[in-house]
Assembly symmetry: none
Amino acid sequence: MRKRDREATRARLLEAARLRFAREGYDATSVRDIAADTGVDASLIFRYFGSKKQLFDEATAAPEIPLDLLDGPEDELVARMLRSVVFTDWTKYGGEHPLVAMLRSSAHEDTRQRIRREVCDTYVRALADLAQGDDAELRAELLSAWLVGIGILRSVVATPALARAELADLAPHLATVATGLLGRPMAGSSER
Amino acid sequence: MRKRDREATRARLLEAARLRFAREGYDATSVRDIAADTGVDASLIFRYFGSKKQLFDEATAAPEIPLDLLDGPEDELVARMLRSVVFTDWTKYGGEHPLVAMLRSSAHEDTRQRIRREVCDTYVRALADLAQGDDAELRAELLSAWLVGIGILRSVVATPALARAELADLAPHLATVATGLLGRPMAGSSER
Amino acid sequence: MRKRDREATRARLLEAARLRFAREGYDATSVRDIAADTGVDASLIFRYFGSKKQLFDEATAAPEIPLDLLDGPEDELVARMLRSVVFTDWTKYGGEHPLVAMLRSSAHEDTRQRIRREVCDTYVRALADLAQGDDAELRAELLSAWLVGIGILRSVVATPALARAELADLAPHLATVATGLLGRPMAGSSER
Amino acid sequence: MRKRDREATRARLLEAARLRFAREGYDATSVRDIAADTGVDASLIFRYFGSKKQLFDEATAAPEIPLDLLDGPEDELVARMLRSVVFTDWTKYGGEHPLVAMLRSSAHEDTRQRIRREVCDTYVRALADLAQGDDAELRAELLSAWLVGIGILRSVVATPALARAELADLAPHLATVATGLLGRPMAGSSER
DNA sequence: CATGAATGAGGCTTCATTCAT
DNA sequence: AATGAATGAAGCCTCATTCAT
């Protein structure tokens, strides 16, 4: 019973922290904000997580990668990635893909490393496996860069055309670019 | 003992501010840091700039757009943009294109607006003029997104292949994507 | 080492603030002074009161009006008021009637309004009810002015004769002036 | 020529200081305010006056007492004093009698002493010479207190009836109180 | 173990004042 | 002698964090 309360409070703190850190960045978020959102005293954060930094690390740990991101048809991989970046409900992260939101805290080298690791381990690697030719990794990174750029222009910078685009609007261009960069035919969207 | 030269001191403060804000972002930079870098008392910042915010605005004001960025041959426009983003000496901004560096302060809506304005006014507009078809603006933004994404992956995230790539490595892929997105033949690099 | 008692600490801060603000005025009092008097860290003031201004407002809130000030015999009303102004133990306010002490912060319009409200609501109104004739309010204010003036000359300016006067010395003159201004016989002192 | 400029600037600084100190009090006035009002650099104040405090002392030195204040008919003395306090053009002092204005800086013991000296030397002494009986000084102070109180309630506290009263409205009450306190017939106003 | 009172460093900013030029 | 650049202390306030209870 007690135990359950503790776990529940910890979870709620984590959730509030995720939202704040995503929306306002590390520096503009105070532990008091998070505690207030949760309705508990700020000192609990130190009991449960040790420090603001540790809470940040835990709150922004890489989310579970959806199984179907990497497991579907190969020619739809890029389309699935794009949907993950811009057409997925990231309400828990303030409405943006976690990686995009984390750029708001990119003033800290630590955060940059975390972003790098996830971008490389998840996106670049999977794309590099698909690419043909000797500079496969570079081309995979260039495609990843595009996805990241779209995420940023769409939500952080809020550029007009991208901000109101639907997946269907992007699909043909996605196919063009992905096909061009990977050197093999890629679909612009998955049928589902 | 420094010379008592208002303009010189102001300029040195501005320079220090540009570097700090670019490297560490608005929140993680304190006016004392900047003053210390400059070797003067922090209160001078308020005499000369009014507030930290005003110093930030002035320090991160859009740099002069090189004349040749928009005035060269049309088919090399994207290549010139890419060089501006990743192969220009941005030492004064901590080594990154100012727009990329400013993302580190993107927790503040104000900064996001400034980024949006410059991206739209300079990059998207020029590209939209080149693009064919009815969704010209969307395609221009998609290409801008790519440039931004490259800037971020290369320096903020420091992804391995991109970080060590030379312009020549990127040129062919640039030509492919730009041509594909704009619907007309584009060069991957300019001869100079 | 002080007890960790929120209410007690708050009360001690309030007490120290009352004294400082009364003796030195708003501007010449720093929150650090008050905190030091209390023996706690200055940041507690902001936790408990929000700001220096709010602490000031709370510390100088009108003290309870003694029940017998307005409820005794009518012809002794002025005498009771005089005793309230100059012959009451205002140690908590640095030795002066709160209204007189507040004049030290009268550089701020806000404070002036508070003084006006209390003077009008408590003193002028009660006196106007007693005065005969059509300019009752003016005469009530003139009598209030006298009481205020006495308070000021006695403690702020510390004029010699008034500073050492006892109630008995003032009583006959009080009777004369009050009777003259109100147009009805008034006593110079109450028997108690 | 140079000499004249210096004296002129000094005089203008003094004038600006008088106004600021009167209207906002010592603490709320900064030397920069005064310098800005005068259109000169703040450091001139230190060259010419030594310190803010010395400027204050000089700016608020007792103004020349009008010759006719003390030299007219005896029975109109109080009337002349009242006119001096509330019906004289004190624009140079922000619209209030200098003594009343100075109460805004009464947080400092120094200022209080200066007020005391002027009140005693000018007002109390002249009135005491007129009063009959052994407690002449006390009665003179009580009358002075009234004048001060009227000045304060009228302009600092801005009590409604007093704030809009004309000299004619106050004259009869003045006669009553002055006559009562001094023990000899006094006029409520002078014929001029 | 949990609570919340207390802390002290540091944030931005304004002040009176000094000191080169 | 005059100018204005520079200073450093101190102002209010917020922060992450600690430590009694």
